[in-house]
Symmetry: C2
Subunit: 439 residues, 2 copies
């Protein structure tokens, strides 16, 4: 135990994830977890997918697993989504142990908070808030599903999908995900509300709750709110226009259903991963567009993945600032520190490198698959999104291993991994500057 | 004339390119330029492709154009490759006019030199050096082609391909480019020597010529030499391994020819655009890998395109520096100014955005083409590379227009365009800094 604690925060985080996924795999492999026998690789795949709140599935969760198995999946999602760290701290609290700086630093790392103080308070809020939201949403979902499936199955379905949506897991218990509810207002509103709240980042919610005035909000909150709104509107418009007459997606729907479907498929790719239209039927243009949305992802410190919206915004703002011949990135009368540019650049580049390596590897193992489907699958796994054009179910054994690894990487975060490998060192000598040519 | 001079450097550069391409289009459309009638759009396409030294072709240059037409193409390549700017200054010199600061700034912009002084001298060197290299190479190529095609055709072919190679244009007068010379040492060595020299950047050559010692070389030169060597070796190894048993590319070649082909196809994608194996027959993994090479491109101030090798290196070094927890990018005991990071970031991001927009547009116009072929075509045009998996000849009218525009953008440089649109302004107010969360 002493040796375990001696690991640095990143190594500890990775260890905890590995242990949880292993336990999850064992539980899903239990005879009463599935109706029929499933392979170890599929149990590992589903456990990793649930723990990393991705939602990709090599077997159909609805028909493969028993209610017990589905409960395990829901628990893994909840553990993964809220963050093992918050759980670890909670267990420390419940055991009455004093929380040391080391654990608090670990939490800070996990939730990406800028100050150490108030972390514990935040985790308590986080826990209470999440459970409350999930319970309220469960009631709303039950309005639809109890009449449809009866009390016990209806409630369980409401419970499962409430957890899956709030934690941005994207798991659904129907083989075609939520396609049958494409025009259903309750399902569209409740599910998307859950994953937007879960994906915008807890700090944003706390900030909105405390300030209650746009002007007083922190820069981070303003960027997240405006960015989310603009990106969602653009995405909805794009999907609506491109897919309008595609018979495999929006073509045969009424105008109202077309709008619901465009809305849902616009907000879902940035980590939620649910779908109300067939991803395999989308136009290649839309598929490529969704790949970009999946890569950008949700908010920092949320249940979502991707490089994060603020990272993308900092890069975009840095580019615009450079083009305008200015030095400081100024938004809403605040200057963004240049160290954030370097951080955003590093996050984006490492992510691009990992995604490219993933695509190259999967291209080698999946000879039959088209390049675009492979690219979609890799970015979906890396951004822990869970959408698929249909490749997941056809993956080879090697392909499954690659996607498992990418989901793991995507959730742990490339930065965390790299930090754990590299030991930071102080600059000792400062060398003279020299200009080079770029562009 | 007065009004023309009042344009800022970027606008002037764009104007000159537009005029040259228009004149080129008219000349290629002349009855004695082609054996049969060609469409205006194809004349425009070839003129743009030659002037931007891209090498993509909607009609086969070898069989479509007469020797006169091919001469026009060679001239457009030479004008485009050496840079209209150097020509403009030369014309000014020849007319005995004093070169004003404005013209010198224009030159500086075009050649990406860090100081205004010595620009004119550089252009003179550039001109003499290029012609000399091209003439020497022409002699070597004639050794192969005069015996094969007779004196007049053999010399013309040597002349044409020497210009096409040195300027990284990638135009060849055989329908299958250089595939018939896959194992020919003379062609492999002379052609690749030409485009590597032409693509590494004139400043690097001058530096090597003057210093003649690696230790004394400028940081830019060191980065370019090391980067080019490492990237070429990695690329050769990659292509050799992936394509080794592919019957459509290396599979049926002898080991020696396999090595020549891997070498050639490794060094050519970073702007040269010649090919000795069938691009359409490559494994999807190799195609994707070549897309990355094409995006990176050649050296600053060279006849090549892409975001440039140093840009990619700065981004990579910045990422590594960040991961090591350091602030300064240190290479070879020199610190790279942080302003270069912002510049490299901006260049890369604008390029990515343009490429993405191009892919989305071409996806809409080319319904029949596969996504990977479209991606390849757009990056090839943007990096002014000229390789194609076969899509160029099948482009729709709208698709041709899009590729013409992308080649133009790729050569003029996204930065130049953006600078010409935006008017730089001084920072007036400095706002307080505020932290945000990324990643
Ligand atoms: K997900
Ligand atoms: K080229």
């Amino acid at each position: 135990m002493k040796k375990f604690i001696k690991l640095n925060p990143s190594q500890l985080l990775i260890s905890v994830f590995v242990v949880s996924i292993s336990v999850g795999t064992l539980l899903l492999k239990l005879p009463f977890s599935t109706h029929d026998h499933i392979k170890w690789i599929d149990a590992l795949f589903i456990a990793t997918s649930a723990m990393t709140v991705t939602g990709l599935a090599t077997v159909d969760p609805g028909t493969t697993f028993t209610t017990f198995g589905q409960l395990i999946i829901a628990l893994l999602i909840q553990v993964g989504g809220l963050g093992i760290m918050s759980f670890a701290v909670l267990i420390f609290i419940m055991l009455g142990k004093k929380i040391g700086l080391k654990e608090r630093l670990l939490m800070q790392h996990a939730l990406n908070q800028t100050s150490v103080g108030g972390i514990i308070k935040l985790v308590k809020y986080l826990f209470v808030f999440s459970i409350t939201i999930e319970m309220i949403a469960m009631v709303f979902l039950a309005i639809r599903w109890v009449p449809q499936y009866g009390l016990s199955k209806g409630l369980f379905y409401s419970f499962f999908h409430s957890i899956s949506a709030f934690n941005n897991a994207g798991f659904a218990l129907w083989p075609d995900n939520l396609i049958q509810y494409v025009g259903d207002p309750i399902i569209n509103i409740v599910i998307s509300f859950l994953f937007i709240i879960g994906g915008i980042g807890f700090t944003v919610l706390v900030d909105v709750w405390k300030k209650r005035s746009y002007r007083k909000l922190s820069l981070h909150t303003k960027l997240m709110l405006t960015g989310t709104l603009v990106l969602n509107i653009v995405a909805m418009f794009f999907i609506f226009c491109v897919e309008y007459s595609n018979p495999q997606t929006l073509g045969n729907l009424s105008l109202g259903d077309k709008l619901w479907a465009s809305y849902f498929q616009a907000v879902s790719p940035r980590t939620a991963g649910f779908n109300t239209v067939d991803m395999g039927g989308l136009d290649e243009t839309t598929i490529f567009f969704i790949i970009i949305l999946m890569f950008i992802g949700a908010g920092s410190g949320s249940t979502g993945g991707g490089i994060k919206l603020t990272t993308a915004l900092v890069i975009g703002l840095a580019t615009v600032t450079f083009l305008r011949g200015k030095n400081d990135i100024v938004v809403s009368k605040r200057t963004i520190n240049s160290s954030f540019i370097l951080k955003a650049l590093a996050i984006t580049m490492i992510s691009i490198v990992f995604v490219i390596l993933g695509i190259l590897l999967l291209n080698i193992t999946e000879k039959e698959a088209s390049f675009l489907d492979i690219m979609f699958e890799v970015v979906s796994a890396f951004g822990t999104v869970g959408l698929s054009t249909g490749l997941t179910g056809m993956l080879t054994f090697a392909g499954k291993q690659i996607i498992i690894f990418i989901m793991f990487l995507g959730k742990i975060g490339p930065l965390t991994l790299m930090f754990s490998l590299a030991s930071p060192s102080k600059e000792k000598i400062r060398y003279p500057q020299e200009d080079i040519l770029t562009g």
